[in-house]
């Protein structure tokens, strides 16, 4: 009860900060929008998706779930930079000297990040619709797709929280939050079909926690190319695997981050 209340109070604080520094949100939007446009118009022509129709819009349909998923994982950077900044300012001493729930500073941050992620997804969906992306499924399934994306983003912001607590400066936190995201999101089914990768890389890509969510969202959006056959186990059970990975990440990283926060000497 206390923990929930405290987390909401801190989340409110972080959302307020967001509205006071709108640049952060704006730049957070530019990057994924740029990726949508670059991938569709620059790379899109060169990438053929097996099983897709010859429709020039086919790659777009395939790509969008991947871009969405990549975008939500960037919550890592926001969380790590934000937490790290809080830790270097006197404010965290105030929080730590208050009779508030121990994890609330971190939970509040990750909840606020989810609000930001949701906002970015709304804008990104509009842009994607404008350039010709369409869902082909029931609305509630599409909605569930978005929920899976938010869950993944929430999980990744806990990774960000741990990074933010582990590095010494907000600047380092930003880059530490981002470097590993590129291999993680590229060695996956997000941008190209895994079948086109070398054989040794394919299992890695299939078992990548990120790929499961991309595949699950594609399914829920009705964006899986009609002729594409999935034989890898995580791809065949993408929705439960996606939920499983996200929950596992939350449990592990939340535990580690809260412990680190409690032990932090500041």
């Amino acid at each position: 009860m206390t923990a929930m209340n405290d987390s909401f109070v801190v989340a409110k604080r972080n959302v307020r900060r967001m509205t006071r520094i709108p640049e952060v949100l704006v730049f957070g939007l530019i990057q994924p929008v740029m990726f949508v446009l670059l991938f569709t118009y620059v790379m899109g022509g060169a990438i053929t998706v097996p099983g897709a129709t010859t429709d020039p819009n086919a790659y777009k349909q395939y790509l969008i779930a991947g871009i969405f998923a990549q975008t939500v994982t960037f919550a890592v950077a926001g969380a790590s930079a934000g937490i790290s900044e809080d830790m270097t300012k006197g404010l965290v001493d105030r929080f730590r000297s208050l009779p508030m729930a121990r994890g609330a500073v971190l939970t509040g941050r990750t909840l606020a990040d989810s609000v930001q992620t949701a906002l970015i997804l709304v804008v990104l969906s509009i842009v994607s619709l404008l350039i010709g992306w369409r869902t082909h499924n029931d609305l509630w399934k599409v909605f569930c797709g978005f929920l899976l994306l938010l869950l993944l983003g929430y999980a990744f912001s806990w990774i960000g929280a741990l990074i933010g607590l582990s590095v010494r400066s907000p600047e380092a936190a930003t880059s530490a939050g981002l470097v590993w995201l590129f291999p993680l999101t590229f060695i996956s089914n997000a941008f190209v079909p895994v079948a086109t990768m070398p054989g040794w890389l394919q299992p890695i890509a299939y078992w990548n926690p990120f790929s499961a969510t991309v595949q699950a969202v594609r399914q829920l959006f009705g964006n899986v190319p009609p002729g594409m056959v999935q034989t890898a186990w995580p791809m065949k059970h993408a929705i439960p695997v996606s939920i499983g990975w996200s929950v596992l990440i939350i449990v592990v990283f939340r535990t580690l981050a809260v412990r680190k926060y409690r032990l932090a000497d500041g």
Partner: protein, 346 residues
């Protein structure tokens, strides 16, 4: 004697090779102010962090308002207010939002927190700035907001870590007045400061800290008495008159006079205060000695501080090989003795 609101025993905390706290004992009776006085890096902030549950000591015990700091940190947190060296406010929230957030984190209802925030902003003359984000506040305003945040639940025990460092004199005075009001209301206060004037004005008791140890403690007056009582200082107009003046002062002196020929200054320890000063003036005048300047000087905390920390520093720099030697475990009882010992070694 009233129960101690803050007590600490043998606090030790090391950071790598640095012993930030090297066996600190403290005791602050209820509704009194203890001034923790020391230079930068003396361990003042570390002591505050331990007592406010922000840092665990390597060893030692501490309790606040009768609650064990190490065993029940959560309980302690609901009894204390902390205002640190760096204003702990969110600079992107308004003054009102900052205080309201703290209130809500103390489990107040939103309405209660809002009302309390308004009340505090008014008290600290921040009501005009209540709706502005703290980033736009001046240094003094931020400090006041920070202090207000520490007062949200009217805690019985407060910790103020260098509350006026970096403030201009006007803001410092204003903050002192607020602190005095708090103490008048019965709050127990532990205050750290580098300013002797501040400790002298606000604190009932003073503990002088250096290199993680309490090297002296007592009231301001006791500390001043410790390094000697009052002195008469005479500056004569003509240096030729110095021997004559020393002779004239001899009957009043209770110790050896100090003569500084180049400044034509004589200092003699005396007792009896202003009356002695009047007698000295009359006597010198009667002997036809021209006085350039004369005054009765009581030792300031500066003198205390320099005499204690100055010598300790010299002794330890010159004597690293001594460190293996026996160290008095009770650094505080022997404040004067310790200082004396160090002095003798120099």
């Amino acid at each position: 004697m009233s129960e101690a609101a803050i007590s600490a025993e043998g606090l030790v905390r090391t950071f790598g090779d640095v012993r930030a706290l090297d066996g600190v004992d403290l005791e602050v009776p209820e509704a009194t102010v203890l001034g923790l006085l020391g230079p930068n890096g003396a361990g003042k902030t570390t002591a505050v962090r331990v007592l406010t549950t922000l840092l665990r000591p390597d060893s030692g015990r501490a309790s606040v308002a009768g609650v064990d700091v190490l065993k029940h940190p959560d309980k302690v947190r609901s009894l204390i207010g902390l205002s640190g060296q760096y204003a702990a406010v969110d600079e992107y929230l308004t003054g009102q939002e900052n205080l309201q957030m703290v209130g809500e984190l103390y489990q107040m209802s939103a309405r209660e927190a809002k009302a309390r925030a308004r009340e505090l902003l008014k008290r600290f003359s921040l009501d005009d700035a209540a709706g502005r984000i703290a980033k736009t506040y001046s240094g003094g305003m931020r400090r006041r907001l920070d202090l207000a945040a520490a007062l949200v639940v009217r805690p019985p025990v407060m910790f103020l870590d260098e509350p006026t460092t970096g403030l201009d004199p006007r803001n410092r005075m204003a903050l002192w007045e607020v602190i005095e009001e708090l103490v008048g209301e019965g709050t127990t206060l532990l205050l750290t400061t580098q300013y002797l004037e501040e400790a002298d004005r606000l604190a009932h008791d003073i503990a002088v800290v250096d290199r993680g140890r309490v090297i002296a403690r007592g009231t301001a007056d006791q500390l001043k008495a410790q390094i000697g009582g009052e002195r008469v200082e005479v500056v004569v107009t003509d240096s030729a008159a110095l021997p004559l003046a020393v002779e004239a002062l001899a009957p009043y002196a209770i110790g050896e006079p100090t003569v500084e020929p180049h400044t034509r200054r004589i200092t003699v320890p005396v007792t009896g205060g202003a009356r002695v000063l009047a007698d000295v003036i009359r006597d010198l005048d009667a002997r036809g000695i021209l006085i350039h300047d004369i005054g009765l000087r009581r030792p300031t905390l500066d003198d205390v501080f320099l005499s204690l920390t100055g010598h300790v520093t010299e002794a330890e720099e010159g004597g690293d090989e001594d460190e293996g030697g026996p160290q008095s475990p009770d650094g505080e009882t022997g404040a004067g003795r310790r200082a004396g010992r160090k002095k003798a070694r120099v």
